[in-house]
Symmetry: C2
Subunit: 191 residues, 2 copies
């Protein structure tokens, strides 16, 4: 009897195969052929789920956004906005192996979208979702301050987060979870 495969589960496995190829060989090598080989499937089987490399990449990138959103939605309610900010920001930063993988995939997409316009809408969506999340955190923490100040502080927190994420990918030996947490704590002190 053939094994029954849950299509959602299979698509998740395929996206993870895309992630592995991107992290090991680079995004331009994440072709339908290479991903099928990585996942141990025939090209025909893979095409049952994804018709093109574009679809495969888009799914793998959406999975980064969805995982982060799911983790944030699953956080326990927090009456203290400072504590909530710390927990949300920790979900956005590469604090463990799973989030390191997401972060490296995101960095590869960010750079690749500069020369591949088809990737830009999803990359920009990720950018805007993160900016909106930063604005909400600043708004909740800053209290009654002028609108312009909230926007500057949202830009600042957003840039800080993405800079920490890039540094954690580039120099994981120096930019450890402990150092990221210390920087975030210091930043929230000033808000």
């Amino acid at each position: 009897m053939p094994k029954v495969v849950d299509p959602a589960e299979r698509r998740r496995e395929l996206a993870e195969a895309v992630w592995r190829v991107i992290r090991r060989d680079g995004l331009e090598h994440a072709s339908v052929r290479n991903v099928a080989r990585e996942a141990g499937l025939s090209m025909g089987s893979l095409r049952h789920y994804f018709e093109s490399q574009g679809e495969l990449l888009a799914f793998a990138l959406r999975m980064v956004i969805e995982r982060i959103e799911r983790r944030i939605a699953a956080l326990e309610p927090q009456p203290d906005p400072r504590r909530r900010a710390e927990l949300v920001l920790a979900e956005l930063l590469p604090m463990d192996a799973e989030r390191q993988a997401e972060n490296e995939v995101w960095l590869a997409f960010t750079a690749r979208a500069q020369v591949d316009p088809a990737l830009r809408p999803l990359r920009d969506q990720g950018h805007d979702v993160l900016r909106a999340g930063c604005r909400r955190i600043v708004h909740d923490l800053a209290g009654d301050v002028p609108e312009a100040e909230i926007e500057v502080q949202a830009d600042r927190l957003h840039a800080l987060l993405d800079g920490l994420a890039v540094h954690a990918a580039v120099r994981p030996d120096l930019n450890t979870p402990e150092r990221m947490a210390a920087v975030i704590a210091r930043h929230l002190d000033d808000l």
Copy 2:
């Protein structure tokens, strides 16, 4: 009579041809062949200056670092450390077309070095030089504070800078020089 070509000038032109290929097509397309075509030279002429793609890429990346260092060295002396910090940070951020080009080349190298170990020493050198510059700025501004506080603030300024640079590459319409300057000014206020 054949035109006399200054070799330093020719190498600079070639590095700029590398930059154009990287920004238009992506770093993996910056082969000796494509760069020779971009520069209007034969492969043989180009090989007179650079023997391999690796040498060509390394030179193009070193030119980013050297240009930034030269501009900072050329700044007028500033008795006020806050004013000096603003001027140095402005040289590091993509505030005009020249610095936007440097920034996009840097982003492409940053991502590519994740999967191409040959590029890592130079990328890490750029990372460390920028970190040291941030530490100096924090040290000059912060006065008599504990060593650990200087390190956290140096990590923070470094991450902020690289985050702003990534955002300027990704969304230049939103992340304008004016907004970067406002974020930097607000950050220096807190130091």
